[in-house]
């Protein structure tokens, strides 16, 4: 498996706070190949950010605790590294872009310094050389280099996110983790920033994990998609698998709750109910309480990911025991064909 950049197995992360034991991630496994972009999709609180932070071993502790699992990055288990080794990986092999550009930058350092810092941390360069690189990075993300000496408060939200991207890419990482990079931005700016990321990823042959709850964004840039619900992956496959051969009832629910521009006026069908409280997950399939197809058996045991046969790719897996019945088929797929 030389082509894997990242291989996560059975990751379990809990937040142990005073009032509750939050089961944020409950056995997530996925692999990421070279030059691929994986979309991590799911509603707020599904454990997407926690999964991403785990890859850098940056889950805030306390209260966060990585209970078990392995995260193999280029052949090395991140969870077994010492603090110093981790610091060498962070920003250098794996970089992360955070959701809110307004708060992700240090307000009392110039943006140039903040980009240069990344370079200085990982490469043997002088301060001037690092600053030169910082300016180069700024140009790369579409900001004039003389702005390197400005402070974050002098930039707009979209520009700040470009700076954050510049920081992340400064050391040419193999893997970029983007945690809802455009959620906090205006729609027009969103498109620009996404376009920029897409181009840079391609240009630098990076792999990317793109966390989002926006299926439109996923369709735009992702090769693979993993749908996360209550700390578990419920469906994973190529973008084509997920969009055109949807298999999990939750994924279907996500699509149904999207506004359909072609058939305006048609009513949205939001998924009924709320995601279960991760400190008090139901037994069995955590989607069962909201699932229109659920049977009694669903709340007995947690469904395992199983390969989906037929027209789908070999990557396509779904965690739904309804498929024990070979005739089971989602409504969406019935009407389609």
């Amino acid at each position: 498996m030389a082509d894997l950049v990242l291989d996560i197995k059975d990751l379990v992360v809990h937040y142990e706070t005073e009032d509750a034991d939050v089961h944020a991630v409950n056995g997530i496994s996925f692999q990421l190949g070279k030059k691929t972009t994986l979309g991590l999709v799911g509603e707020t609180g599904a454990g997407k950010t926690t999964t991403a932070l785990s890859i850098l071993n940056l889950v805030p502790n306390p209260p966060g605790k990585i209970k078990s699992g392995s995260i193999v990055l280029d052949g090395v288990d991140v969870l077994k590294l010492s603090q110093e080794e981790l610091e060498k990986v962070r920003g250098n092999d794996v970089a992360m872009i955070f959701q809110d550009p307004m708060t992700a930058l240090n307000p009392v350092m110039t943006v140039g310094e903040q980009i240069a810092e990344s370079v200085e941390l990982h490469e043997k360069v002088s301060k001037q050389e690092a600053m030169e690189r910082a300016k180069e990075m700024l140009r790369l993300v579409g900001i004039a280099e003389n702005r390197a000496y400005d402070y974050p408060h002098q930039f707009s939200g979209g520009m700040k996110q470009r700076v954050v991207i510049a920081i992340a890419l400064a050391c040419n990482p193999k893997l970029l983790i983007a945690d809802e990079p455009t959620t906090a931005l205006d729609v027009t700016i969103q498109a620009q920033v996404l376009e920029l990321m897409k181009n840079l990823i391609r240009e630098y042959d990076m792999s990317m994990i793109l966390i989002t709850h926006d299926l439109g964004v996923v369709a735009e840039i992702c090769d693979d998609v993993a749908v996360v619900y209550a700390g578990r992956i419920v469906e994973i496959g190529t973008a084509d698998d997920i969009f055109n051969h949807t298999h999990h009832p939750y994924t279907e629910g996500l699509f149904d709750s999207l506004p359909n521009l072609k058939e305006r006026g048609e009513e949205l069908q939001p998924i009924k109910g709320l995601m279960p409280d991760p400190s008090n997950l139901p037994p069995g399939c955590s989607f069962a309480p909201r699932c229109p197809y659920a049977t009694d058996a669903c709340s007995k045991k947690v469904p395992e990911l199983r390969p989906v046969g037929g027209t789908s790719s070999s990557k396509h897996m779904v965690a739904c025991d309804a498929y024990d019945d070979p005739k089971f088929c989602l409504r969406r797929n019935k009407d389609g064909k």
Binding site: E87, N106, T110, V164
Partner: protein, 311 residues
């Protein structure tokens, strides 16, 4: 920036006029008849009247105040009727002592409080944090003079390391500075702790970690500078308070500072001295505030940008 400083200095003028007016007015209300003080008990009413006439005490209040202000601009705040000393000169001679004690105290406070505040913030709600907080609690709760007396007992009477009072060389400032400094350290430490706690939660700290900064770099390079504004405010407030607030410590250690000067002058009913010293103190506080505001700009580019805009 320079424009801003000039503007702030100009703004000081009305502030000084108003405060000095209030102080002069209040002191005028409460003070006795200076003529009586000068002439003594045996003076005849004619003598008193003559003295009043000579000193312009019979002029209307505003005229007297105007005369006082005119003198002040030239560094003349009159003489004490009791000691005969020049008020402005006496104040200026005493000021360095206060600055020395205050400076040393603040230095000690900062040296103790900053690291301790950061340390307790990083180890929030562990026993290390609790020990630090107890230390701070003692600092706030313990009366200044009592700590001073204990220090004298131990370090000058018993061990003989430092003089017990007066001002003679470096060693004499140590005990009073520790006494005052410990009280200050408590407040600065708590401010540092809470400010650091705020900062530790910020997203840019995670960004710094994700870049590969070590924990030390995260705290000191990214955290501390962001946490400094409230800390500087606390330190600035403390410095203003030291101007007049360390009377007790100054008394315990017979330290010839402003606090004691004012205190002694009040006891002597030396109104000229009290009025002058208080007006000068308020001017000093205004200047300290200005310096603190300028220090803000040095640490926070957002504040600096604001100043530049205000021009």
């Amino acid at each position: 920036m320079i424009k801003y400083i000039v503007k702030r200095l100009l703004q000081l003028i009305p502030v000084i006029i108003v405060t000095s007016f209030l102080i002069y007015w209040a002191m005028n209300l409460t003070s006795g008849d200076p003529a009586l003080l000068i002439a003594g008990d045996k003076a005849t009413p004619e003598m008193l009247e003559q003295i009043r006439e000579e000193m312009g005490l019979n002029d209307p209040f505003l005229v007297r105040y105007g005369r006082y202000m005119l003198g002040m601009i030239q560094g003349d705040m009159g003489e004490s009727y009791i000691t005969g000393k020049d008020v402005f000169q006496t104040f200026m001679e005493t000021l360095p002592n206060t600055l020395m004690l205050g400076g040393a105290a603040v230095l000690i406070a900062v040296i103790i409080a900053l690291p301790l505040g950061i340390y307790t913030a990083i180890h929030q709600s562990t026993w290390k944090d609790n020990v630090g907080m107890v230390f701070a609690l003692f600092g706030t709760a313990m009366p200044n003079f009592w700590l001073g007396l204990m220090l004298i007992l131990l370090f000058s009477l018993k061990l003989g390391w430092f003089p017990s009072g007066g001002k003679a060389g470096f060693s004499s400032v140590v005990l009073p500075a520790v006494t005052v400094g410990y009280g200050l350290a408590a407040l600065i430490m708590r401010t540092t702790r809470s400010s650091m706690l705020d900062v530790i939660r910020q997203d840019y700290m995670t960004t710094a970690r994700a870049k590969g900064c070590s924990e030390r770099q995260v705290i000191f390079r990214h955290g501390l500078k962001n946490a400094l504004i409230p800390i500087i405010t606390a330190i600035g407030m403390q410095i203003s308070m030291i101007m007049t607030g360390s009377v007790l410590a100054e008394t315990v250690f017979s330290w010839p500072g402003i606090g004691r000067l004012v205190n002694d002058s009040i006891a002597r009913r030396d109104n000229e001295m009290v009025t002058g010293a208080i007006i000068m103190c308020s001017i000093c506080m205004c200047l300290i505030n200005l310096v603190v505001d300028l220090v803000y700009a040095f640490f926070d580019p957002r504040i600096k940008a604001q100043y530049a805009k205000k021009g």
